[in-house]
């Protein structure tokens, strides 16, 4: 059996199928993951995403049931529909994970993010920043003669919009929590 004479660089050099990753629709989903609050559980979730090449757009985690030792991890992720399904199945397989909910498909949900912005400036820019903050219902939580720290809660899009407006007005630093989300309705 002689050589197959396969062109250099051809995917036939690999036993793995080399696929075009841009060929499919990418969706954004918000997942709520209820986990046992034990050491390392966040590392397991993050390790799953990095190890299998999934995306994390944002991730928040906090204990939500002190007595029951439960934490809630809210993950905003992107991927093809198949990848999203795979992410949910893989999350469900982690031993300390109790529940996985895809808030994007399980009915309507509300999503909020908290952000803080430090805006420094004087004169017209300072006045304009304060005026826009009022429009956006951002609160002033710290002020000096040449700076404000605004605090606001809203959807990620609203916070993005506010950040864009503050940029030319002296935005020097911002901190964001990432998305927290709950499904709408009584259940």
């Amino acid at each position: 059996m002689s050589a197959l004479h396969i062109k250099k660089g051809s995917t036939s050099h690999s036993a793995y199928e080399l696929r075009d990753p841009n060929g499919e629709i990418i969706e954004k989903h918000t997942l709520a993951v209820l986990v046992e609050n034990e050491p390392g559980v966040l590392a397991r979730v993050i390790g799953l995403f990095s190890g299998r090449g999934y995306n994390i757009e944002s991730l928040t985690v906090a204990e939500v049931d002190h007595l029951g030792h439960r934490s809630r991890i809210t993950i905003v992720t992107t991927g093809t529909p198949n990848v999203i399904e795979q992410i949910k199945a893989q999350l469900g397989r982690i031993v300390p994970v109790h529940e996985v909910h895809d808030l994007t498909v399980e009915g309507q949900s509300v999503e909020r993010e908290l952000a803080m912005f430090k805006v420094a400036g004087t004169g017209d820019k300072r006045i304009e920043a304060l005026r826009l903050a009022e429009i956006f219902r951002a609160n002033v939580v710290d002020s000096t003669l040449e700076s404000f720290v605004f605090e606001m809660t809203g959807t990620s899009e609203k916070i993005d919009a506010f950040a864009e407006l503050m940029r030319p007005l002296g935005l020097i630093e911002q901190a964001r929590t990432g998305v927290a989300a709950l499904s709408r309705g009584p259940k």
Partner: protein, 582 residues
Amino acid sequence: MTRQMTGADMVVQALKDQGVDTIFGYPGGAVLPVYDAIFQQNDIKHILVRHEQAAIHAAEAYARSTGKVGVALVTSGPGATNAVTGLTDALLDSIPIVVFSGQVPTFMIGTDGFQEADTIGITRPCTKHNWLVKDTNALAETIHQAFHVATSGRPGPVLIDLPKDVQFADGTYVGPQKARKSHYQPKLKADIEQINDLAALIEKAERPVFYTGGGVINSGPAASQLLRELVEATGFPITSTLMGLGAYPASGDKWLGMLGMHGLYEANMAMHGCDLMINIGARFDDRITGRLDAFSPGSIKAHIDIDPSSLNKVIQVDLPIVGDIAHVLEDLLKVWKSRGRKTKDISAWTKQIADWRAVRCLDYKNSETVIKPQYALQRFEELTKGMDRYITTEVGQHQMWAAQFLGFEDPNRWMTSGGLGTMGYGFPASIGVQVAHPDSLVVNVAGEASWLMNMQEMGTAIQYNLPVKQFILNNERLGMVRQWQQLLHGERYSNSWSDALPDFVKLAEAFGAKGIQCSDPKDLDDAIMEMINYDGPVIFDCLVEKHENCFPMIPSGKPHNEMLLGDASTEDAIKSDGAVLV
């Protein structure tokens, strides 16, 4: 039962309560208290390996050949890092093992202490779950949970990291009955509507095939029994992955042989041409599917798996069923029978398969002067097939030839590294099997390169008088690498040979074992019998053809119906009509 004892004693007590009688390990500073506890009892036998990787592989093979949990014990730092390959191997092949690793005392964790490593961090992605136990009072419960997690759902390796102060301290022991139940309870039974749907598909199929995998073996002997019943009742042909060999007997007339990259022509062609594929406990691995967009284009696909993440991971299937194989097959048989045991006439399909079989894809050009590796395995099969026999393998060409040429009549008789492809697996695996089955014939079909990766285990074999047979098909090459370089990399044989091999006969003798060398086909039968009949470990250095390639082969990026066949059968195939390929 609750009582006070040290953490080290708890490890031993919990193992006894879990029904463990054998563990594989290697001592070191951070596990000395547990070793001290082992010294002071007689219920649990400890097998001292010569390298921690071997302890894990031995435990894996012990588990695979018995259906029980394999247990290993290693020290902190290098002991734990040496275990990583074995853990990953067990994860990819879904083998239930529990590994204990020593750790520096809790108050030293994070100080870069002597032989400290972040074992939990390192092993997190290569275990199903792992635990760092910081309180002796939590130890017993953690061990019981570890056994539960390792064996429930899709089995896998777990690790418990034991800081030395936790081993020394006293705490309250709880037995398995009293331990808190884990919330981890994977679903075993499938929805009955899905079973009904599958029965309906079976009734309509004209070109069906069962595609089975390691999940059948992992589900236990009942699953293999039910599978046989299902195959006989429906008359459908069946193929299996490397991991699933033995679930259906190789002598069965519905048996197509293994499928996949080096699978049989008839098996791969049946997969490509079927109209109903029933995947039972396999996972559409890339060595099975070949090119995805050309994988079995005309079939309805059903997939039964206990792990929901296996479903629709690689191949989108029409009927995904989550459940344990034995439970699902039992329900399926019941439902299908109650619907009237109907199948279509599949005789055209069986005729087609017979034609594919007639290609005789495993044919090779034999030689009177040189031992062909296929011939060596054919003779070995012929001389040992009736025996109480367990086979392990290393990884490479010899592994594929073993899968092609050896027949397995029962599950749990075939131990090979499937998912991870770990060279060095087979020798320690043969030790694990022989410990579990002291009176059986245990043979490691090896290549010389793989075998050298864990050859230190000769010491273990001798120390415990384990009569493992190392059947080395020696081509002085990394055969599979060489084959790929020949076919795909312009015959540039980069680093795929070794010109400094040991004299294996002298090596055997140096350890106190028996060495046999054979290079003449005429002497082969006698030499094999000499190996089998020798009461003790044997290294059999079988000098084989150096440039033999392993066929059939689905070249990379090709679909199932574009297999390469060896020279002998290609000539035949081209003469007959319906010739394919290359």
